[in-house]
């Protein structure tokens, strides 16, 4: 399988705290990788690094045919070229409140990819239809539920036709019913072999969708391998983490 994203020896410190500690990890094309780990372990920092929203202190990142060295200044043109390769989905969806639902999805394609309005609108409606939200196209985001907004934000990311989707706890801010709506969309994307890196605390979903699991703790990668290997691991830290998760939430997924 093609190697799509590759991070090597990435370090990021906030004051004394090492958010990413010599992280080397790569993600393959067409594959769904689930990132798990305790809160504050550096999962968001890792995803934001891939999307260049956070600039680490050192290390390298390559996506497809592009590469950057974090120790050197990165030009905005370089950042933009790399960001176009990935699509980001945020925990709180971060839709643009001043644009309609369709406008949100068209924004990237028209402004960044210079698509025509008609083309972008047609593609937006297609995406909305695939998540059962076509009827919301002309509404504004804050008239919609969290589950609806998150599905729309997935459409917004997909409209850029990214090589890989990066999802940072896409269902953590949702109640179980809405979580299910969003997870269905993600399961469908996984089936279509859309490359995805998903940070989640939902272990039922992780089991169902992950072809690979990366376990992060204290800014370090502690496990990187198969889903079965992870859930049956004898490693003390992993067992402790999984026990904590199953206690704190029912890991619900209808």
């Amino acid at each position: 399988m093609k190697r799509l994203i590759k991070l090597e020896h990435v370090n990021k410190a906030y004051r004394q705290h090492q958010a990413l500690d010599d992280v080397s990890v790569s993600f393959d094309d067409g594959q769904t990788t689930v990132i798990v780990g305790p809160s504050g372990s550096g999962k968001s920092t890792l995803l934001r690094t891939i999307n260049l929203l956070t600039q680490p202190d050192s290390g390298t990142l390559s996506i497809d045919d592009l590469a950057v060295d974090f120790a050197k200044p990165i030009s905005s043109a370089q950042k933009i070229a790399m960001r176009k390769k990935t699509g980001m989905v945020f925990q709180n969806w971060n839709l643009f409140p001043n644009l309609t639902v369709r406008g949100n999805i068209m924004e990237g394609p028209t402004v960044v990819l210079k698509q025509s309005k008609t083309e972008a609108a047609a593609h937006a409606d297609e995406l909305l239809k695939s998540v059962d939200l076509l009827e919301t196209a002309d509404r504004y985001p804050n008239q919609l539920s969290g589950g609806q907004q998150q599905r729309i934000s997935i459409c917004r990311a997909l409209a850029m036709q990214p090589e890989c989707l990066l999802l940072d706890e896409p269902t953590s801010a949702l109640d179980p019913e809405m979580e299910t709506q969003v997870l269905r969309v993600l399961l469908e994307l996984a089936k279509q072999k859309q490359a995805m890196v998903v940070v989640t605390h939902n272990m039922v979903f992780a089991r169902a969708v992950a072809e690979r699991i990366v376990f992060v703790e204290n800014g370090r990668i502690r496990y990187d391998g198969s889903s079965d290997g992870f859930f049956n691991a004898t490693d003390e830290r992993i067992r402790h983490f999984l026990a904590g998760i199953s206690l704190s939430e029912g890991s619900s997924m209808a």
Partner: protein, 234 residues
């Protein structure tokens, strides 16, 4: 008394249309322009090569000095310096131009702080989301951040606008025949200060009220998207 009001009102209104309103609109437009530029200069984080960094720092120094200067001196004094003072330096401006420049600079200094606060109050998540799509800084600013900031800045900016309407009466002191000047001139002939100044006050009030209605309409327009939805589930 009614006779006085009947003859004076049209004259004052004419002065309003001729001077007060154009002076207000031009000065406000100029002020917002200066305010936006000043706010943006203050918000830029100096980066890039040393020359560019230095240039940004100098511009920021100028911006801070400008805002400080115009907020800590009386408007009337500013008006006098620009109209009566600058000719000593060989800069002789027509009264109307001097007034527009002074009121613009003054409005710009105040509105820059309002605009800066509004831009900062848009959550950084919005920057992240727009950047993640591959948008340039300029696109994010104008297409995503500004529209949201306008909504936040509109009520305080409307206050500044109404304040400006009333402040234009100071232009009477530099020979501009605006509403208040006309009232003074008529009063000098009929010796009815109470009636005349009450009348001009009433006309300013009418003008401000009309503008307030306009503000309400603008606010509804720019915040359409922020109204509570009827189907919001959570």
């Amino acid at each position: 008394m009614w006779e006085i009001i009947k003859t004076a009102t049209p004259q004052i209104i004419a002065a309003g249309i001729r001077y007060t309103i154009p002076l207000t609109l031009l000065s406000f437009a100029g002020g917002i322009f200066l305010g936006v530029i000043t706010a943006l200069i203050k918000l830029v984080v100096p980066s890039g090569n040393p020359v560019k960094k230095g240039l940004i720092r100098i511009l920021q120094g100028i911006a801070y000095f400008y805002v400080w200067l115009f907020r800590s001196t009386p408007l009337l004094v500013q008006l006098f310096i620009i109209f009566f003072g600058l000719p000593n330096l060989g800069i002789k401006l027509p009264a109307f131009t001097a007034a527009v420049i002074t009121f613009s600079l003054n409005t710009g200094a105040y509105s820059s702080e309002t605009i800066r606060a509004a831009l900062l109050s848009v959550p950084s998540d919005q920057w992240d989301a727009a950047y993640s799509l591959g948008m340039t800084e300029t696109s994010v600013l104008w297409r995503i951040i500004f529209p949201q900031a306008v909504r936040i800045a509109l009520p305080p900016l409307s206050n500044e606008f109404i304040g400006l309407v009333k402040d234009t009466s100071l232009a009477s002191s530099i020979t501009i025949v605006e509403m208040f000047t006309v009232a003074q001139q008529i009063e000098a002939k009929n010796y009815e200060p109470l009636v005349m100044y009450m009348l001009v006050a009433a006309l300013y009030a009418v003008l401000c009220s009309v503008l307030s209605l306009l503000q309400g309409w603008l606010e509804r327009r720019t915040s359409r998207y922020a109204q509570e939805g009827d189907e919001a589930v959570d």
